[in-house]
């Protein structure tokens, strides 16, 4: 292993400092005894305790999770279907237009997406609540799913599907028994991406949420406008913890799978 030069050390430090100092400060102050956010008065976990008593936050957290689960699931189904047709459908009239259109929401400003959804919901007389947020989140996250899944499908060996047909599968069976299990990792990461996007979203949710349902980002944002409280710091720290655990688990699992595959292949090569 090469020793790091001083230049590399400095760039590494600067880069990571830039990324993580704000979060570290937030975590440190979530354990602050004092109610004043910027003055350190000793270690305490009391804000975590208070957070657990706060009905409004807990409700918002529950709504957020519900919305994320439903919207990412629907988005995964729709996004996978769209990706499959666009990659496998061959040439049909308007294919280029469709594949362009599916990626358009990726670059569309969120404000516009939010506003147009709001107008739609008002237009059809749908009361804003959990349902409208789910619909809105499905709309913008399905194109992310479709991007992830179609990039996997492009490298998918078509002869696997042909083999399934050849062995007696109908097209639907071939998809269910062969294609889906093989592209499952991409579908799952698409789901996780959609889930995270839904958890994070503030702009679109604020357009489509109503008095009956508020998501956590909206709650935090409106609370901060009245002044940052240590309670918010505690809540944010918890969210960081959840995300960190998730990311680390995911990377460990995939690393172990790659390692095992490598070992298996080496074992096979030795025996050959």
């Amino acid at each position: 292993m090469n020793k790091l030069s001083w230049f590399n050390v400095v760039s590494l430090t600067l880069g990571f400092a830039f990324l993580y100092i704000p979060m570290i400060i937030l975590i440190i102050f979530s354990f602050n005894e004092s109610k004043l956010v910027t003055v350190w008065a000793g270690f305490s976990t009391k804000w975590y305790g208070e957070l657990m008593q706060n009905e409004a936050f807990l409700n918002a957290a529950w709504v957020t999770v519900k919305v994320a689960v439903f919207s990412s699931t629907i988005a995964t189904v729709l996004g996978t279907m769209a990706a499959y047709v666009l990659v496998r459908g061959g040439r049909f009239l308007g294919r280029t237009l469709f594949s362009g259109m599916i990626y358009a929401p990726l670059v569309m400003p969120e404000v516009i997406t939010g506003l147009s959804l709001l107008l739609l919901f008002i237009g059809i007389g749908l009361d804003r609540g959990v349902l409208t947020i789910v619909l809105a989140h499905t709309t913008f996250s399905m194109c992310y799913v479709s991007v992830v899944v179609s990039s996997r499908l492009v490298t998918f060996d078509r002869s696997l599907e042909e083999a399934a047909l050849d062995l007696g599968c109908s097209a639907a069976e071939a998809f269910r028994l062969v294609t889906l299990p093989i592209i499952a990792p991409a579908v799952i990461s698409g789901w996780l991406l959609a889930f995270t996007l839904s958890l994070d979203d503030l702009v679109i949710a604020s357009f489509t949420s109503g008095p009956s349902a508020t998501t956590l980002p909206i709650k935090i944002f409106s609370a901060v406008r009245l002044g940052v409280s240590p309670e918010i710091n505690a809540l944010s720290t918890l969210m960081i913890a959840v995300v960190t655990v998730g990311v680390i688990t995911a990377s460990l699992v995939s690393k172990r799978a790659t390692l095992r595959q490598k070992q298996d292949e080496q074992a096979a090569a030795r025996e050959a």
């Binding site: 060996d157 002869s159 696997l160 042909e162 083999a163 399934a164 047909l165 050849d166 062995l167 007696g168 599968c169 109908s170 069976e173 028994l177 062969v178 299990p181 093989i182 595959q261 298996d264 292949e265 074992a267 096979a268 090569a269 025996e271 050959a272």
Partner: protein
């Protein structure tokens, strides 16, 4: 059981298992298969041979049902199969990439097709075990495809495609991914399995040696046309065109003009200052017709002294020697610059060979050694 040679293609009453009738396949403006007719019989091991892009894979994919026919019909056991989707055809295919399902074990891969047929559990298990035994894979039944070697994967693919006992098995470059030694062993294994199961095999390959080894008949294809369909020895010994002669094995092609000498024998004038060559031919040539004399290198004798009583003798000097261990190929340059390849078995140690680079040598061959071709 009669012991006569297996040759249903010579029996006018034999019913073909597959017949292509004036089949044309176009992809846009490109014609992949051009008005082609061909009969393949039951229990045949039929090889489609040709360079890449000659249409051999298209033929196979039309049989499997992955491509539709533009014009003409393909019949399987007397039935037009145009409207039958791939999953309803009694045809199975072994893919070039093997296309093993990576998420299923070897056992489940082989059972896959049987499960689609809703075969009862006991029969299914017995059939899978039978296939594992046939392909000597019992030890690897629980492994996943990435846990076995390339040769084993090839056998899994074969077992999976044979499990449903298809009327016809299609093999797309089945040995292409194996190294040479393994490929040779596997060729004989394939022949054994073909014989013991009695399945009709159609194999696609660009490897002429492979086609010659395994097949009962070989079809040489070029640009969507069948150039010649015959048994391997006839393809090699009596090619019907320069293309076939040149594609299969090594050959010397000498262009010249014919003069009839006797019934069935011709004199070929081929170069200024060189004696005319004698050759026999079953097909007729008129006087002064352009012809190509095709002679295999191993049918030319190379000697240091002028042989007596040879039908054809030419002199040259050794330009190059390709030493192959058991054989050597001599590139002999004639006085007019023509290069002739002659092959001889290295029956003596190489140090005792009576000629080497730049030595003058005599090449000789009989009148029946070569084939006269019109084009």
């Amino acid at each position: 059981m009669n012991t006569s040679v297996f040759a249903p293609w010579e029996d006018p009453n034999a019913k073909p298992l597959i017949s292509f009738r004036n089949v044309t396949k176009r992809f846009g403006s490109f014609t992949a298969i051009d008005n082609l007719s061909l009969d393949i019989f039951e229990k045949e091991f039929f090889a489609l041979l040709g360079p890449s892009g000659c249409g051999k894979t298209t033929m196979m994919r039309m049989l499997a049902g992955f491509e539709t026919v533009t014009e003409g019909t393909i019949e399987l056991a007397g039935q037009d199969i145009a409207a039958v989707p791939p999953n309803k055809r009694a045809v199975n295919m072994m893919f070039q990439s093997y296309a093993l399902f990576p998420h299923l074990s070897v056992w489940e891969n082989i059972a896959f097709g049987l499960r689609r047929d809703k075969m009862p559990k006991q029969d299914l298990e017995a059939r899978v075990e039978e296939m594992l035994k046939l392909t000597r894979l019992e030890k690897f039944a629980r492994r996943k495809p990435h846990q076995i070697s390339g040769g084993q994967r090839q056998r899994v693919a074969l077992a999976r495609s044979l499990a449903k006992a298809p009327k016809l098995l299609l093999l797309d470059e089945p040995l292409g991914a194996l190294d040479k030694k393994l490929r040779q062993d596997t060729q004989f294994e394939l022949m054994d399995i073909q014989e013991s199961t009695g399945t009709t095999f159609v194999i696609v390959t660009h490897d002429q040696e492979e086609a010659m080894t395994v097949a009962s008949r070989v079809a040489v294809m070029d640009e969507g046309l069948l150039k010649q369909v015959a048994t391997p020895d006839r393809i090699y010994e009596t090619p019907n065109s320069v293309y076939v002669a040149d594609f299969i094995g090594d050959v010397n092609i000498i262009q010249g003009r014919t003069t009839t000498a006797n019934e069935g024998t011709y004199r070929v004038d081929w170069a200024e200052g060189q004696a005319a060559l004698n050759a026999t031919s079953a097909t007729e040539f008129s006087n002064d017709q352009t012809c190509h004399l095709a002679i295999r290198p191993e049918k030319i004798t190379i000697t240091a002294d002028r042989p007596e009583n040879a039908d054809n003798v030419v002199q040259g000097k050794v330009h190059d020697i390709a030493y192959l261990g058991n054989l050597s190929t001599y590139y002999v340059e004639l006085s007019n610059g023509t290069m002739i390849k002659a092959q001889a078995a290295n029956t003596r140690r190489i140090s005792r060979r009576s000629f080497t680079w730049e030595d003058p040598v005599w090449l000789s061959w009989t009148a029946t050694a070569g084939v006269l071709l019109a084009n």
